[in-house]
């Protein structure tokens, strides 16, 4: 029995438990950051589709529509302008409804159109309204449809997601820091005998703190490395099984890897240092 107990004390169990905790904490942080990034990217992609659709008169010639495109393109703030011919529109319609409804008709009733996406800075209701007004009176323009509803809803959702995600991430990082700090405090508490004894043998506070600081750094580095490896593994298996196609991956973002490592190392070494300091003060 004594052997067993002493075995536990001799073993690096508290250290390994702490490494494991840091790894989990950083895994959560890393996955959190990546999820938010990926989510925003995905929604951003969808939104950037187009803001405005300008339908042209049915009888407009190709040359006239080219001219019109040039005029419209002069307006400031246009990020992208896409021309949809009558045929493109028909193809789209068919694709949307899954049937070749239009081929039953003699004539293609769908108009040709421009789809316009504004630059971020110009995407305000005021500017878009004045844009619509001036485009509306151009020759060959039949109707301008501002996808305001969609636009504003997506904006609203994005804002909500962004707020929630940022708040959530912040909270998760914070609680992660707390939980890890608690873990490290417990780890240090379990070493009171060691601290007491070497102090009685003449170790200065600095001599007591520095190896713990170093140990904390190593612990954090190990934890962070495990977290990064786990994330990479997750990404690889997501890709391998074609579950989801992530636009943002940690493998392409060394700064994120570095960030996690730095965060892990500093969190652990400072956490351990703080716990030891508190203990040294406690036992003054």
């Amino acid at each position: 029995m004594r052997e067993g107990i002493v075995g536990i004390r001799r073993s690096r169990m508290p250290f390994m438990i702490s490494v494991f905790s840091v790894a989990i904490a950083l895994l959560v942080v890393g996955v959190g950051v990546l999820s938010v990034d990926n989510g925003l990217q995905y929604i951003g992609d969808m939104q950037a589709n187009y803001d405005l659709e300008i339908f042209l008169k049915n009888d407009i010639s190709t040359i006239d529509s080219r001219e019109l495109a040039d005029i419209i393109n002069e307006y400031p703030g246009i990020l992208r302008m896409e021309y949809l011919s009558k045929e493109d529109a028909a193809a789209l319609y068919n694709a949307e409804f899954g049937e070749d409804v239009l081929s039953l008709l003699d004539d293609n009733p769908l108009p040709s159109s421009f789809r316009i996406t504004f630059e971020e800075d110009y995407r305000s209701a005021g500017y878009i309204h004045s844009f619509i007004q001036s485009v509306n009176i151009l020759n060959g323009v039949d109707e301008v449809i501002f996808k305001k509803d969609l636009f504003e809803k997506v904006q609203g959702i994005m804002k909500l997601i962004y707020t929630l995600a940022t708040a959530g991430l912040f909270m998760i990082i914070l609680s992660t820091v707390f939980l890890t700090a608690n873990n490290l405090r417990l780890m240090i508490l379990a070493r009171y005998e060691f601290i007491e004894t070497i102090r009685l043998l003449g170790a200065s506070d600095f001599m007591i703190k520095s190896p713990f600081f170093l140990e904390g750094g190593i612990l954090g580095f190990l934890g962070a490395s495990i977290a990064v490896l786990a994330i990479i593994l997750m990404e690889i298996s997501l890709a391998y099984y074609h579950i989801i196609d992530l636009p943002v991956r940690i493998m392409n973002h060394p700064e994120l890897i570095l960030g996690l490592l730095v965060f892990g190392v500093s969190l652990s070494s400072l956490g351990v240092l703080k716990a030891v300091r508190r203990m040294l003060r406690f036992v003054a």
Partner: protein
């Protein structure tokens, strides 16, 4: 070297050490003799500045403990070898590391430290125990390890608290012999014990305690 002047130490429990006055010079060997609970360990704790007097002053190496900061206390302790009554060996280090720890703290290079640890272990018959852990040793063996850790640093002051309590006659003789050798090499020794036999075998100045007071101090 060690100076107690009108020292009073009161515990929350109401028990107190009162009016302690003595001087221990740098080449002295002093027994601290007294019954269980008379205050021997408490005096040693005041010398290594773990306890501080409520009034009066305790000076070690001319430093008044009440006015000494933590950094200096650490340095003073590095010059003191201590055998604690409860040994205070580290359960998660083998005997070699336990003894070497005292040298590590002084920043000694590994090679020299190694030599010293082996030499001291040999002196106390602990050579074969070096790779073991404290729980694998008998009570008496642990006590000798505690002494080895105190002797290995060639201390200027050696404080030993009942260092033979767990030892038979023979082992006890070996241990006291090495304590005397440390004394002969220049250390002042304070030897706390309740064992009159020991003192009779190797007589020296004896401070006798009774319930917190010094009742006798003679060669």
């Amino acid at each position: 070297m060690i100076q107690f002047k009108n020292v009073h130490l009161r515990f929350d429990s109401g028990i107190s050490l009162r009016d302690l006055n003595f001087d221990i010079k740098s080449d002295e060997f002093v027994y601290l003799f007294g019954d269980s609970g008379s205050g021997k360990s408490s005096i040693l704790k005041m010398i290594y500045m773990d306890f501080f007097p409520n009034s009066g002053s305790v000076s070690v190496f001319d430093q008044d403990s009440s006015y000494t900061n933590r950094g200096t206390i650490a340095k003073i302790r590095q010059r003191i070898g201590m055998v604690f009554q409860d040994f205070k060996l580290l359960a998660d280090r083998d005997i070699y590391s336990n003894i070497a720890l005292a040298l590590e703290i002084q920043g000694m290079k590994t090679d020299e430290a190694r030599r010293k640890v082996f030499a001291t272990a040999d002196d106390l018959g602990l050579r074969t125990k070096l790779p073991l852990y404290p729980h694998e040793l008998s009570g008496g063996e642990q006590q000798r390890v505690a002494l080895a850790r105190a002797l290995v640093i060639s201390p200027d002051i050696l404080l030993v608290d009942e260092p033979t309590a767990h030892l038979d006659e023979t082992a006890s003789a070996v241990v006291t012999e090495w304590i005397w050798k440390a004394h002969n090499r220049g250390a002042s020794v304070v030897f706390a014990t309740h064992n009159e036999q020991l003192i009779k075998r190797d007589p020296a100045r004896t401070i006798t305690m009774e319930t917190g007071q010094i009742i006798l101090d003679r060669e």
